[in-house]
């Protein structure tokens, strides 16, 4: 049930996100104070140039940092929502776009675009990369499910194992493309390790166009998702068309994953950690959990990206950082789950 305590928590997350965005914008090689950041942002609305501020700062804020920061926040939020949706549909706390192999599928699809350019087929990348990423994600989803379908209950272990197998094959595929496209290795490494370097307002726009409607779509079905936790058979007897909703939400979550990967490469475990932590605080009700995941995922990924960008002596790929944190966390959840099974 939604209480005022829950809404308060959502409000707090929203304020933390705004504060993180503003302070992250000030961090970096050029230090800009939060007040100055707010003044610069305000001047964009009023159209007056701010007084007493270094004239290069508005350019740094608006053209260099803010697009990257907003992209990181959107991708973090999107991946966390996608993870929460996968977990709720599959009744599986270990599911997330990365462990199911969906992220690798999207990355493989996106890197196929390079093969096309080798054969001289040129499609504008703003169009081809998201579309190929989505096709790769959906194909992977189908492959993982058909591999796991021998186990009719779709148990955690079968599904995750299928995801790992398919992801391994896809990584080899990406490696092969890397071999073919030797002068463009840098781009492939980007797909494999994930990065927000050089994101533009165009990226902010394309991710927003998919992620916000996707979030609204999942929220529309949040109560049905709760009922589906009772199991597909019982959910059907409560008037929920679970097989239709399941398909639509799987496609929606894959689409969110695909757009995220197409602007940032593979970033693992955000979709695992954020829903898990928030479920411990807020409980499993998806009507509260999904918006909280969006805000929490945005804060976490933006925070991690700001650490690699502004604090570390040299920038390490963000995907590497999240996997370094997320991998052990995955071990922890897996172990807890296995112990619960055997107790």
């Amino acid at each position: 049930m939604i209480g005022s305590k829950h809404l308060f928590f959502i409000g707090v997350l929203f304020i933390i996100l705004c504060a993180t965005i503003i302070s992250a914008t000030g961090m970096g090689f050029l230090k800009i104070s939060p007040i100055e950041v707010i003044e610069i942002l305000w001047s964009q609305f009023t159209g007056q140039s701010p007084e007493g501020i270094n004239p290069t700062f508005p350019f740094v804020v608006m053209e260099v940092r803010l697009p990257r920061i907003l992209t990181a926040a959107l991708v973090g939020g999107g991946l966390a929502v996608a993870g929460a949706v996968f977990q709720a549909i599959l009744l599986n706390p270990l599911a997330d776009p990365y462990t199911l192999g969906i992220s690798s599928g999207a990355a493989f699809g996106a890197s196929l675009v390079i093969i096309l350019t080798i054969f001289g087929i040129v499609i504008p990348p703003w169009f081809s990369i998201p579309v190929f990423a989505f096709l790769g994600a959906i194909a992977t989803l189908i492959a993982v499910f058909s591999l796991a379908s021998t186990d009719t209950s779709l148990s955690s272990n079968t599904l995750i194992l299928s995801g790992v197998i398919i992801a391994a094959i896809l990584s080899a595929g990406i490696g092969f493309i890397k071999y073919l496209a030797d002068e463009q290795v840098g781009i492939i490494i980007f797909w494999l390790m994930g990065s927000f370097v050089g994101r533009t307002w165009g990226d902010v726009l394309t991710t927003s166009i998919i992620i916000f409607p996707g979030l609204l779509f999942t929220l529309y079905y949040a109560r049905d998702l709760n009922i589906m936790a009772l199991g597909e058979r019982t959910a059907n007897t409560l008037g929920v068309d679970s097989s239709r909703i399941k398909k639509q939400l799987l496609i929606c979550a894959s689409l969110i994953t695909a757009i995220s990967v197409s602007v940032s490469g593979i970033i693992g475990f955000i979709g695992l950690i954020v829903p898990h932590l928030l479920r411990m605080v807020l409980g499993p009700d998806n009507r509260i959990l999904l918006p909280a995941c969006f805000l929490g995922g945005a804060i976490l990924l933006l925070g991690a990206d700001t650490i690699t960008r502004a604090w570390l002596p040299s920038e390490i790929p963000i995907g590497v950082l999240t996997s370094l944190i997320g991998g052990p966390f995955f071990c922890y959840i897996f172990r807890k789950k296995q112990m619960a099974l055997h107790s």
């Binding site: 049930m1 939604i2 709720a88 009744l91 599986n92 706390p93 109560r223 709760n226 009922i227 936790a229 009772l230 199991g231 058979r233 019982t234 059907n236 007897t237 409560l238 008037g239 929920v240 068309d241 479920r279 409980g283 499993p284 009700d285």
Partner: protein
Amino acid sequence: MISSQKTAGLLFQLAGLSFAYQKHPVLHDIDLQLYSGKFYGVIGGNGSGKSTLLELLMGTLLPLNGTITYRKKLLANYSKKELATKLSLVPQHFSMDFDYRVYDIVLMGRHPHIPRFASPAQHDREIVTQAMVTMDILDLQNRPVTALSGGELQRVVMARALAQESEVLILDEATSNLDIQHTIAIMQVMRKRVVEQGFTIIAAIHDLNLAAAFCDECLVLKDGQIYAKDTVDNIFTSDLLQTVFSVEAVVDNNTMTKHPQIQFKYQ
């Protein structure tokens, strides 16, 4: 007069029904009529098709051949939402991976009655509390369901089905996880609803004495067909138990309860 009353109370009508999982035939040539205000027991050995029959009645499986109507309308023509206000199910197995509170799970039974973006009304909350009182789980209402024993969880699932306020309750071996105290208490509550409120129950039951004590009529399934359908007094005979279950048994009329009482020959 009596016959017109009978058709008025007709709920399910199955005609020439058959069902198969892939190439394995499970049920065939089922013709059956079920009326409201009765407690039906479905008995038969393991794999005789009891659960499949219940799923077909719920509309969660579709027949391979033949038709099922509910109140003279094809079951398949009802919307899921509409059906949810008429039929509810207590499944045989239930597990939960997310730590919803007991109260939240029982409240989920109100799902078909609450509009999509509305909050549960006072009326809904009262029904949920009443269902928890009936199932003796009110003191568990704030516990996470992941921390309950099998029997407690089973009572939560029953309370959820009661909160659904349907016309028909379908139980798939719903009491098999419960201790004798709760089994009897719950069967008594169910019986009372049938007698006093005209509720209809269709229950697959393994414990034959339990079926004999609480049901009005029993359907006996054998090899995917209805072997017999009659009142409990006529169903429970040594001959039938020998043919259907291949066990030797004596059936007495229990002097205390006036129900048939089955005594099995164990050695």
